[in-house]
Structures are given as structure tokens and as C-alpha cells.
């Protein structure tokens, strides 16, 4: 039952902050119903990993998840978090140690963003200054400017921003475990992709144990270190890494979920950080335009990317624009400038590339710092190396029980 190494792990190997979760013969039977909603489920969720629960609606995936923080009390079986059997501990105290994110974020409409994030710290009796510091730290972490968003009310935020605050709120007391119940189900596809990228970026730093319920298999492939494919009664049909499931679906039920285009989905498995980024001509606000022009010409490109003093990309400028006097004196941020993170998949990168007018997409790291660009060639190279790698022995099928 040793932990099997995840195949797409990168060099990032921070301390794992999460804790292992073990479900042992967990059953939920509602009175008056013949079949159990969750029938004798046993599984181990390794510390610091994202485990996706995927299955058709009504399969019991949400019920299974809600038994972990005992929003639903199991009829029988045990739940262990870390080394502690939590099946009988005080549920309110247990839940303060488990972050919980639901669809639509579930922010309190009558609380400000700061008050929403402060809910669990307040329950834990933190002092005011510590709470205020934590709120700002978390807003920063989810890419919302604290001074600008702290005192807003949820209705003054977009769906994506609300969902970010929801994540910040769940992380407030730094819980080792995070439960996410279709958190990105209610936002538009572009926002969803961005939120997914952010979650992956956060997870690189945080290394929480995350249980994530979704009905979207592509989301599961993108986010999951492991995927548990569940059938009615929360029966675990297959529990493995995305690579292994894509390569060898256990049966027709799983094949149905994987769907067509498994080869293209491999693009979803390769992260931007796993490929070598290209350089682009880079300049700064207030920088030397002439230098930028010669740099771009060296690359054989007609565009240079302008960064602000914090290395955050602002906009692409053409050579002609750069040649204008004072071109770099003040540069406003292009609201349409799309960026992706190292945790994004090549699939996302390709998507952005096809919709942007530059044929390249900018990659940014923490705090939106510029890291490099991806070009079509980058993806072609990655595809070719994927093709040769897939003939190598795949990962083992060991299903933890």
C-alpha cells in the first residue's frame, strides 16, 4: 500500500501540509430506503493530494464527501483524518479543521468579504489583529487586492471573484483538509478554467489534502492527482491516477466517462511547467523602447511584452507602437490580455493561443509574475514527446483499499 509516485509531479516538493484521510467501510442508509446511498466504501486519500470524486448524479459522491466533515452522519463505518478517528468527535469542532467550498461559494450576503473570510478564525477565537492580517494574506493569495476588495459585499463581486473568496474563506484557519463540492460548476467556462489554474497554483504552495466532487471528467483529469470514478451507491469503479485511467479504463462504465478523444485529453495531462517556455522580447513601463525593438527583431518577432515594476505583463506592443516617441512612458493594462499559469494544461494554452491574436500565450507565475511564453511549436514538441513516452510502461494499477 505504498504511495505510488505521481507521474506528472514537478520539481516543486514543498512540505505536505495535508493529512491523510481514510474511509473505512463507510455506509449511509436513509430510513425508509431499501438501497444504501453510500454502500460500504473504503478508500485512502493520501496526504497532500487532490482526489477527484467523479460519477453520475445520484451516485453518492457528494454524500460520501459530506460524511468526511459529518454534514451527513454515516450509518456505519469510520473516518480517520491523520491519525485521529473523527467518527465521533464534536462535528462543529471537526468542521473548523476542514475547509469547505460549495458551488456558488455560499458567501454570507450580509457580511463583507473580510467578515466572510474571518468566520472560522472568529469561531476559533483568534484576536482581531491576527484575523485582519490573515484576511489580507488570503486575499493576496487568491489574487484579490485586499484594499480594494476587503470591504465589499458579495453582491458587488463577479461569480469568479465570489468563488475565490469562497476558497480564501475555506483556507482561513489553514485546515489540512479541503472539501470542494462542485465549486466551479456555476461559473462560465473561461472563469472556470482560470479558477482551476489558480487552485493548482495554490496547491503547489499549500499541499493540502483536497477532496473535490465534480461530474466533469475533464475537470477531474486536469485537477486530480487521483480520480475515483464512482457508480451508484458510491461504489468505487476505478481509483487511480488520470494517466492510468485514460490509458486503461477499468470497464465500459469508465470508458463512458473518459469519452472520445483520449489522445487529445493527454494534452490536458501535460502542464505548462513541464514544457520548456520560450522567450519573448520583454520590456518595462518606462523602459528603453529602442532596446525592446532590437530584442524583438533578434527573435524575429513583431511584438514585445510590456511588464510593470512588479514584473506583471501589461500588454503586447507592436514594433510600430514601440517606435513612437514616449511609447513606454505610460502603458495601461490590456484588459483582454490573457495569461496562463505553470499549472495550466497545454490544452488551456492551445485554447488561449487560438483565441489570441498574437499566436502566443503569456505564462505567469505567482502574483502574476511574467515567466515566458508558449508558442505553437512548444505544443507540437510536447505532443511528439508524449507520443514516444506513451509507449513506455504506464503507471501501476494499484488501487489503495
Amino acid at each position: 500500500m505504498s504511495d505510488q509516485p505521481t507521474t506528472n509531479d514537478s520539481a516543486v516538493d514543498d512540505v505536505v501540509h495535508g493529512e491523510r484521510i481514510v474511509l473505512n467501510q463507510l455506509t449511509k442508509r436513509y430510513p425508509g430506503q431499501k438501497t444504501a446511498a453510500v454502500d460500504d466504501v473504503s478508500m485512502e486519500i493520501p496526504a497532500g493530494e487532490i482526489v477527484m470524486f467523479v460519477g453520475p448524479s445520484g451516485c453518492g459522491k457528494t454524500t460520501t464527501m459530506k460524511m468526511i466533515n459529518r454534514l451527513i452522519e454515516p450509518t456505519s463505518g469510520t473516518i480517520t483524518i491523520g491519525d485521529e478517528d473523527v467518527t465521533d468527535v464534536n462535528p462543529d469542532e471537526l468542521r473548523r479543521r476542514i475547509g469547505y467550498v460549495i458551488q456558488g461559494a455560499g458567501l454570507f450576503p450580509h457580511y463583507t468579504v473580510a467578515d466572510n473570510i474571518a468566520i472560522v478564525p472568529k469561531l476559533l477565537g483568534w484576536d482581531k489583529q491576527r484575523i485582519a492580517d490573515r484576511v489580507d494574506e488570503l486575499l493576496d493569495l487568491v489574487n484579490l487586492e485586499p484594499a480594494q476588495y476587503r470591504d465589499r459585499f458579495p453582491r458587488e463581486l463577479s461569480g469568479g471573484q465570489q468563488q475565490r473568496v469562497g476558497v480564501a474563506r475555506a483556507l482561513a484557519a489553514d485546515p489540512p483538509v479541503l472539501l470542494m463540492d462542485e465549486p466551479f460548476g456555476a461559473v462560465d467556462p473561461i472563469t472556470r478554467q482560470r479558477l482551476q489554474d489558480e487552485l493548482l497554483r495554490l496547491q503547489e504552495e499549500l499541499r493540502k489534502t483536497i477532496v473535490f466532487v465534480t461530474h466533469d471528467f475533464d475537470e477531474a483529469v486536469k485537477l486530480g492527482d487521483r480520480i475515483a470514478i464512482l457508480d451508484v451507491g458510491s461504489e468505487i469503479v476505478q481509483y487511480d491516477t488520470p494517466e492510468a485511467i485514460l490509458a486503461a479504463p477499468a470497464n465500459e462504465f469508465v470508458e463512458g466517462f473518459v469519452g472520445h478523444g483520449a489522445a487529445l485529453k493527454q494534452l490536458t495531462l501535460t502542464r505548462v511547467r513541464d514544457v520548456e517556455l520560450h522567450d519573448a522580447a520583454v520590456t518595462h513601463i518606462g523602459g528603453d523602447a529602442q532596446e525592446a525593438i532590437s530584442q524583438a527583431q533578434e527573435f524575429g518577432r513583431d511584438w514585445a511584452i510590456v511588464l510593470d515594476e512588479q514584473e506583471r505583463p501589461q500588454r503586447w506592443m507592436s514594433l510600430r507602437e514601440l517606435a513612437r516617441p514616449g511609447a513606454l512612458r505610460s502603458v495601461s493594462r490590456d484588459p483582454d490580455l490573457e495569461t496562463i499559469s505553470p499549472a495550466s494544461t497545454l490544452n488551456d494554452a492551445l485554447d488561449e493561443m487560438l483565441t489570441s491574436s498574437h499566436g502566443v500565450v503569456v505564462v505567469t507565475g505567482r502574483r502574476n509574475k511574467y515567466q515566458g511564453v508558449i508558442r505553437v511549436e512548444t505544443i507540437m514538441e510536447a505532443m511528439q514527446s508524449l507520443g514516444s513516452a506513451s509507449s513506455a510502461p504506464g503507471s501501476a494499477e494499484a488501487v489503495p483499499s
Partner: protein
């Protein structure tokens, strides 16, 4: 003596009875609110009890207040206590109805997210459900306040305080000197007080409702 001269003549008495009237209504309203919220909090989680509470409130409102005052005189001799009790009874009815509706309308996913963060039942009620239902509850309180202003005038029948004494003494000797002036002064006083109280409640409502849910 015309109406304005009459008002000037009886100003101090009118002022005193007006104050008594307002004080009686406000006290009854406070009791009514507390009682109504207790009833609502105890019943809103169960459909059956909610139904009973709502039906009870609807039936209660149909009881003629005059009759209730009359019946209670035999039981409680003190006019002030009697008046406040009867008014609190009537006042609680619209508040119960609105509070139950308001509490039941709170989005269940919000309640679940509160519970999921480790907020207990009481904490969820106090910090989430009541504040969210508050605008609806407050509407009930305002309806109740208007109603009590009117019913409060009947308290004079049970020798209670308030502007009712003007109206009753006016009506009891219709045709006599100043009888209509007395009645009109009472009525007008009640209306003015009702408007003043409503404005006050409106201000309280704005101050106590979070900007995040204010319409």
C-alpha cells in the same frame, strides 16, 4: 370653540395622553417582537409547526379586539397591564407570520455552508438566519406597529392609557359641547403618532440591515 382653539386649550392633556399611547404601543411592540421571534424560531424548521403557527396567527387576527378587551377585564383589573397584554397578543401575530416566512426563505445552501464551517445551530441562527430574515421581520414589525396604534385606542374602553380616552369620551356624548372635537383630536393624534413611529422604525431598519442585503 373651533378645532384649533380646542387643541390649544387641551394641548397638555393631549400631549400627555399621546405620550402614554406611544409608550404603551412601543412596549407592547417590544414584547410582541420577542414573543413572535421565539415562536418563529421554535417552529420554522418543521413544516407542520410552521403551518400551525401561521394558521394561529391568521385566526388570532380575526378576533375582534373590542371583545377581547371586554373579556379580559374580568381577569385582569389593572387597565395598563391588560392593555399591554392584549396589544402584545395582537402585535405578535403579523410578526410571527413574517418571521417564519423570512427564516424559511434563507437559502439552504448558505445554512449548509455555515454548518460546514463549524458554526453551531445557535450561531447559525444568530449570525446568519436572523440577519438574513431581518428585513422581512422588520416589515412585520411595521405592519404590527400600525395595527397597534389603532387597536391601542380601544384600550381606553378597559380604562387603559392613551388617546382612546379622547375618542371614547367624545363619542359617548355626541352632540354635546366639543364632542366631535374630542373625537377628532384623538383620531388625529393616533394618525400622527403612527406616522412618527413608522418613520422611526424605518430608520432603525436602515441602521440594522447590512448594506449587503439592503434593497
Amino acid at each position: 370653540m373651533n378645532f384649533w382653539e380646542f387643541i390649544q386649550d387641551r394641548w397638555s392633556l393631549l400631549w400627555f395622553q399621546g405620550y402614554q399611547h406611544l409608550s404603551m404601543v412601543v412596549q407592547s411592540l417590544l414584547i410582541a417582537t420577542v414573543v413572535a421571534l421565539l415562536i418563529a424560531v421554535l417552529t420554522y424548521r418543521s413544516s407542520m409547526w410552521t403551518g400551525i403557527a401561521e394558521a394561529g396567527a391568521a385566526v388570532g387576527l380575526t378576533i375582534p379586539s373590542f371583545a377581547l378587551f371586554g373579556l379580559f377585564i374580568a381577569l385582569i383589573a389593572n387597565g395598563v397591564v391588560l392593555s399591554v397584554l392584549v396589544l402584545a397578543f395582537y402585535g405578535s401575530l403579523p410578526i410571527v407570520r413574517n418571521a417564519v416566512v423570512g427564516l424559511r426563505r434563507v437559502d439552504p445552501t448558505l445554512v449548509e455552508s455555515a454548518r460546514g464551517m463549524g458554526m453551531g445551530r445557535m450561531s447559525t441562527l444568530w449570525r446568519l438566519e436572523l440577519p438574513m430574515a431581518w428585513p422581512v421581520i422588520l416589515t412585520g414589525i411595521r405592519v404590527s406597529a400600525q395595527m397597534l396604534m389603532g387597536i391601542g385606542a380601544i384600550a381606553a374602553y378597559a380604562s387603559g392609557p392613551g388617546l382612546g380616552s379622547f375618542i371614547f369620551s367624545g363619542l359617548s356624548r355626541l352632540g354635546g359641547a366639543n364632542s366631535t372635537n374630542l373625537a377628532w383630536a384623538g383620531i388625529l393624534g393616533v394618525v400622527v403618532l403612527a406616522i412618527a413611529l413608522d418613520v422611526m422604525l424605518n430608520i432603525i431598519g436602515r441602521l440594522t440591515t447590512s448594506r449587503g442585503i439592503r434593497v
